[in-house]
């Protein structure tokens, strides 16, 4: 059996890639993708520990998260569309009106 450390390292790596994308990209679509990566990093952890403990709860939550991610993408794409309609761009740093 593959020890859980490997999964954790993989998840951490995927998560870091996601964070990196979030911090460096301005494109809203890339943003969304980065968020998906981070979500899936968490999913990997859930599944890995579920497998490690022999408990299906984690896998169940993994499925939940996928469904959630799908919904999130739908909402996210919607937001991006609205963003584009309002700012004629999908650059997230342009849309800075939600402040003081």
């Amino acid at each position: 059996m593959v020890p859980p450390q490997y999964y954790l390292v993989l998840a951490a790596a995927v998560f870091c890639i996601g964070v990196f994308g979030l911090l460096t990209r301005k494109n809203a679509l890339l943003f969304l993708m980065s968020v998906e990566l981070m979500l899936n990093a968490a999913n990997i952890n859930l599944v890995a520990f579920s497998y490690y403990w022999g408990n299906v709860t984690g896998q169940t939550f993994g499925l939940f998260t996928m469904a959630l991610a799908a919904a999130e993408v739908a909402v996210g794409i919607g937001i991006i569309l609205v963003l584009y309609r309002n700012f004629k761009d999908v650059d997230v740093t342009e849309a800075a009106t939600m402040r003081w």
């Binding site: 964070v19 979030l22 911090l23 301005k26 943003f31 997230v92 740093t93 800075a96 402040r99 003081w100």
Partner: protein, 683 residues
């Protein structure tokens, strides 16, 4: 006759009823009652007079009455050891005498008001009669009060009535201002009085004047405390003697305010803004007497405190002279009378301070009659002169108003202390008592005697200056040429009081008693009856004074009477010399700057106004500035700081998603590092 005392509360309640009727009439706004509501007032005071005379008759029969009739807040305080706040009625020789005085003068003033107010076509009469009714009720309540708290409460209520009646003509600028001043100045005195009432309760656990055998009143308790028979609670680390003096002086504050003694006398001359009958009733005969009456009422308490007595005597003597000198230069009839009133109450205070309890009471009685007479006479003149009060515009009224003139003359002779009018006897007795007690080892009283003696010619001078200017000589204005005639309702009260002012001295012919040995000092015997702790001989036992005579007693009596009568005649003669001429001139102008000083009342009003306007008001404004600037400033500063820091800190919210993401990441990292360090995973 035991049953008669059951009607004692009715003496107070009858005028109160007339007050309620008058208020009802005033509220209705219609002319519901004939004579503007005067009739209920006359009926009520008449009824009270009848009852008072009945009380006096019962007292003459040797009966007295002291009953608690209403528990205001009695027994409401558990474990308070009898701190009972009650209303009660005390009828003894002193209060019976005062009841008769007050009801009689109230009745006469009500009748006089028919002429002064109704016939003059004044408006707002129900309000006027309501004020008179409430005043009479409160004053009578004060007179019959059987404890100090009740006395204080009615003392304050008469102050309210005084305020309302002085300010009766509220549409003019003067009366409201005078009313305010009267209430405020007396309130200042009452502050001390209230502290005194509280202190008496705290000290003795009771404020009854008489009490019962087992629970005596506070004057008796004070006496017992000094003999070590009773333990009074004293405060502030003072011994009983010193503490009783403090309490006595506190109560005296109220007396000085109400009886218009120096330095709180300034309100009384201003109070002359009120209608003249009000001046006669309130500011001459009754309310102003309340202070003196209060001292007489609790004389047993003052008698055990030589210091308090000395203060009373000196304040009184000084006021007698001080106020008299101001009366010399006044131009207005009522002003002269006002200063004269202050001066005469000074005499009474002098007498009380000098151990002359009977003399003070006697002067209270005679003064009530002759000063009410003088005020009503002045009212009659003012009415005739169409409300011109300046004596320099009068003159020659003698022939046109004979009833007024002769009654006024009787009052003036009494005031000046000319034999055999009432004032002579009472004033002579005051001076005599002061002199013999002063000689008996209290040199301080000799100073008081000197003040009192000096005031005699002054009194006679200003009194007859007033008489000559008003009634003698030639008329100096058209109004004086053809004065408005007055009716029976003015003349009647004048005649009654004129007779009384002439003969009232007969109630206590003390000098005659000394000379002939006949028992003609009736008032002395009268006041020697009743509750044993409230009798004259008891007071003489406990007061700190001894008597000594120049030569013998007879010699002293004759000498004293001769000196005071001589001085009075001197003042009268001077007034005759200067003013009993067809065309008098203001001789007082020769006094030069002294006249200015006197006319401006020694700048007493100025310094009090200065205190109010230049000291208290700026202090209040400074407090306001402090409050708005510093205290409210601090409150607003807290909110400003919050708002300002908020406005700075919110700049973190840039609105750029990437920044938020960076912050979240940084925060997460920082959290991990902290946990790492704390958990020992790192380092």
């Amino acid at each position: 006759m035991a049953g008669i005392f059951d009607f004692a509360p009715a003496i107070v309640l009858l005028p109160f009823l007339s007050f309620l009727i008058a208020v009802g009439t005033a509220l209705s706004g219609r002319d519901l009652l004939p004579k503007g509501g005067a009739i209920p007032g006359i009926a009520a005071t008449g009824g009270s007079l009848v009852l008072s005379v009945a009380m006096a008759a019962a007292v003459a029969g040797g009966e007295v009455y002291d009953e608690t009739i209403y528990a205001w807040a009695a027994g409401a305080v558990p474990g308070s050891e009898g701190l009972e706040l009650t209303f009660g009625v005390l009828i003894d020789p002193l209060s019976a005498m005062m009841l008769v005085i007050v009801t009689l003068i109230a009745l006469l003033v009500h009748v006089f008001s028919l002429g002064y107010m109704n016939d003059d076509g004044q408006t707002g009469l129900p309000r006027y009669y309501a004020g008179l009714g409430l005043f009479t009720a409160s004053m009578l309540g004060f007179v019959v009060a059987d404890n100090l708290l009740m006395a204080f409460m009615f003392f304050e209520l008469v102050g309210l009535c005084s305020y309302l009646l002085i300010g009766f003509h509220f549409r003019e600028p003067g009366p409201p201002s005078a009313a305010k001043k009267a209430f405020l100045v007396t309130r200042f005195g009452d502050y001390f009085f209230l502290v005194g009432v509280v202190a008496v309760f705290a000290t003795f656990g009771t404020a009854q004047f008489v009490g019962t055998e087992s629970a005596p009143g506070f004057p008796v308790l004070a006496e017992q405390a000094l003999h070590g028979e009773f333990t009074a609670n004293t405060f502030l680390g003072l011994g009983p003697q010193a503490w009783f003096t403090v309490v006595g002086l506190l109560v005296l504050g109220g007396v000085i305010g109400k009886s218009a003694q120096f330095p709180l006398h300034t309100w009384l001359p201003d109070a002359m803004e009120g209608p003249t009958p009000v001046s006669a009733l309130i500011h001459a005969a009754t309310m102003v007497a309340a202070g003196v009456y209060l001292v007489a009422r609790m004389y047993g308490f003052y008698a055990v405190s030589p210091t308090a007595l000395g203060v009373i005597a000196l304040v009184g003597g000084f006021t007698a002279l001080f106020a008299g000198t101001m009366g010399v230069v006044k131009r207005e009839l009522k002003q002269v009378l006002a200063y004269s009133t202050i001066s005469q109450y000074g005499y009474m205070m002098l007498a009380l301070g000098a151990g002359g309890y009977v003399a003070a009471t006697f002067h209270l009685l005679t003064h009530a009659f002759f000063k009410a007479l003088l005020f009503l006479g002045a009212g009659s003149v003012i009415l005739a002169m169409h409300h011109n009060e300046n004596m320099w515009d009068m003159g020659g009224l003698k022939d046109k108003m004979p009833v007024t003139y002769y009654s006024f003359l009787a009052g003036s002779l009494a005031l000046a202390g000319i034999f055999p009018f009432a004032g002579f006897w009472s004033k002579d007795e005051i001076l005599f008592e002061t002199l013999v007690h002063g000689l008996g080892g209290s040199p301080l009283l000799l100073l008081g005697y000197a003040f009192g003696l000096l005031a005699v010619p002054v009194t006679a001078f200003y009194t007859f200056r007033m008489v000559y200017l008003t009634f003698h000589g030639e008329p100096r204005t058209e109004q004086a040429e053809s004065p408005e005639p007055v009716r029976w309702n003015v003349k009647g009260p004048l005649a009654v009081l004129g007779v009384l002012a002439t003969v009232a001295g007969a109630v206590n012919l003390a000098p005659v008693a000394v000379l002939t040995g006949a028992h003609v000092d009736f008032l002395h015997s009268w006041l020697d009856g009743g509750f044993s702790a409230l009798t004259v001989h008891h007071y003489e036992e406990i007061d700190p004074y001894a008597s000594a005579y120049l030569g013998g007693e007879v010699t002293t009596v004759l000498l004293g009477a001769a000196v005071s009568l001589g001085l009075a005649l001197l003042g009268l003669g001077l007034a005759y010399r200067l003013y009993a001429v067809p065309e008098p001139v203001e001789h007082t102008d020769k006094l030069g700057s002294v006249k200015g000083l006197l006319y401006d009342n020694y700048y007493q009003d100025e310094y009090q106004v200065y205190l109010a306007n230049r000291v208290v008001l700026p202090l209040a404004r400074a407090a306001d500035t402090f409050d708005q600037g510093v205290i409210d400033g601090a409150v607003n500063a807290v909110s400003s700081v919050s708002l300002f820091s908020g406005s700075r800190i919110r700049r973190i919210q840039t609105g750029v998603v990437s920044n938020y993401a960076a912050l979240v990441t940084l925060g997460l990292t920082a959290l991990l590092v902290v946990f790492g360090v704390l958990g020992g995973w790192l380092l």
